[in-house]
Amino acid sequence: MPEQLVFAMEVILNGLMAGVLYALVALGFVLIYKASGIFNYAQGVMALFAAMTLVGIMNGQVPFAHLINATFGTHIHYFGWNVPALLAILLTMGVMVLLAWAVQRFVMRHLVGQEPIILFMATIGLAYFLEGVADLMWGSEIKTLDVGLPQGINLWIDESTFNIFGYGFFIDNLDIVATIIAALLVAGLVAFSQYTKQGRAMRAVADDHQAALSVGISLNFIWIMVWSVAGFVALVAGIMWGTKSGVQFSLSLIALKALPVLMLGGFTSIPGAIVGGLIIGVGEKLFEFAIGPMVGGATENWFAYVLALIFLVFRPQGLFGEKIIERV
């Protein structure tokens, strides 16, 4: 087999893995948009906030320590204990539920009935507020996140592909774990929305708010639940990306990777987020591999958007999005 073809296969596999990571971020956007029509600009910052909270809890860090010390002249930074990863994840999930409640209670509840652009602007404000709160709570240093996920080359794939192609493929163990977790997450979300009372209520609200209200579904509860689930997805994305690069401010920028995925897959479809992520991941990696060297490289950031725009020309609602027909 020609060497370039073998390399291209490795690139495609890695593109698929990268796509799963993009899809993880995009899922959070889809959940909230589907249920409430809000494009949640703060989803990336929620991933940052969740990851920082997880590391802070695991390390026994005192939240708002700098503020407390500056106010009271104390020098406390740590409680002096470490929390096991699993328990810390559960506690972080609790914090994300609290955050969901606070967002609903103090922001979204006051904006019911407002234009979508107003709600979008509110989430921009929320994003900046959360960035500041996260820094204030946990500090802005880069933190190492280790919840026990494996990292580095998968030797089995390396050896197997070497035996077949004479060249061992590089696949990161972390990407394999991310793929499995993403698959479980999507299966769990689908099962939740199909087979649970709350999930069906969520779908009812997504279909028609007024009709859902008329049959006694609490919009307030559903929206808190949706923001909580989005918070959980943000936590998963934060763990994956935070393990790769350390937990730091840049995690919030991963939202930029989700936008072309949403444009391509549609804002209302969970499978769309996954398929969109995979197409973007493979597309950008293949383009960088084949065309990048001819144009100076670093094409991935812009090519993802070009790819999404091409799809938009033919399917404005995205691959799996709902077609909006408005009659005059």
């Binding site: 390399f7 490795e10 690139v11 890695n14 990268a18 700098h66 010390n69 002249g73 930074h77 960035e131 500041g132 820094d135 802005s140 240093e141 880069i142 933190k143 190492t144 280790d146 990292q151 580095g152 080359i153 590089f170 990161d172 990306w241 790769k244 690069s245 350390g246 730091q248 401010f249 840049s250 995690l251 920028l253 991963i254 990777k257 990696k285 960088e288 591999f289 990048g292 100076g296 490289g297 670093a298 991935e300 950031n301």
Partner: protein, 427 residues
Amino acid sequence: MNKTLATMALGALMAAGPALADLVIPDLSYRTGPFAAGGIPFSDGYNDYFTMLNERDGGIGGVPIRMVECETGYTTEKGVECYEATKNEGSLVYQPLSTGITYQLIPKVSADGIPLHTMGYGRTSAANGEIFEWVFNYPANYWNGASGAINHLLEENSGDISGKKVALVYHNSAYGKEPIRTLEELSKKHGYELALLPVDSPGQEQKSQWLQIRRDRPDYVILWGWGVMNQVAIQEAANIRFPMENMIGIWWSGAEPDVIPSGEASNGYKALAFTATGDDFPVFDDIKKYVHDAGKAAGAGDKVGTVQYNRAVYAAMLASEAIRTAQEIHGVADITPAMMRDGMEALNISEDRMAELGMSGFGPTFEVSCQNHGGPGLVGVTQWDAAAQKWNVISDFKPTDGDVINALITEDSGAYAAENNLSPRCN
């Protein structure tokens, strides 16, 4: 009417006039945003050194120093806003810690007559003081860094790297592109093969670049990143099992936050340096006594001895020595920005003076002149010990390739002079 006019005039005078008998040092910091991990310790060190001088000596030459901090978030627009907001305070020298901001400030400081010190960053050809009257980048610039990296590879290979493959993984920005020309010229001289691998900002995703490195198998990788790009690059290098000792970063890719997230995997990674590592210097005793113990630290006081903190202490020391020199030259304590420029051009950092300051061996010794705003370009090499969690110096501050670098500086600064219709000074 007259009373109103008089009140307005007094108000305007109070608002417009800088506070007298203060040496104003602006700190264009970035304690927030994607690059805060580098910005915070630098800003802490820069502030703490001046605070120490105020507390211990009552300032410089009897005049207290007033720090004016302005948050840029590492964005060029905010950096320019900060400059505009602080320049009329009587600011003596700007240290923006950003190449992007530096490029925007060069024409502004030149018009306003305020010195700009871009220590180890910024526009490299600003080392030519004949063209760049108000800009200084001593003691080393990017091209010294590029040459320092190649010199280290030459040392490792008994002076011969012909036929070797060297990959430059760089931040796809003005900062990251700075070393390319130098590395290209040096590749002609030494016969190595140079591969260029840009990474888009911020650099969270670098899989393509490292897959290419795995395929092409370069002998060495030079890393030219900042912020998250550094951590991801080092982790990806570890993932593909690239030998860490064959990877060398510019000084902005060689601080603790860059290597700690990768844990043991980053052991052996190298980085260039123009300041010492660790806290085993008498100057830190004074900083601890007069600043941290007195509760006057700019930050949490936990960054002493880290790479960026030390670098900032060195930058602050250079600024304070330039102020001292300017005071001596002009015979006044309350100096102006123009006097500061004179002090920077007459700066003499000697071994004796470094010892007096409690910083013997902390950084290179050098002299600045009207012609040479770039200093000696001495570059050292450090290596990360993951088990001990510290950087070890493995090569002292050594000269870089002046022949190649000076020719490039002359060429680039000449082009700038032609574009801006400038005549060489220092005659």
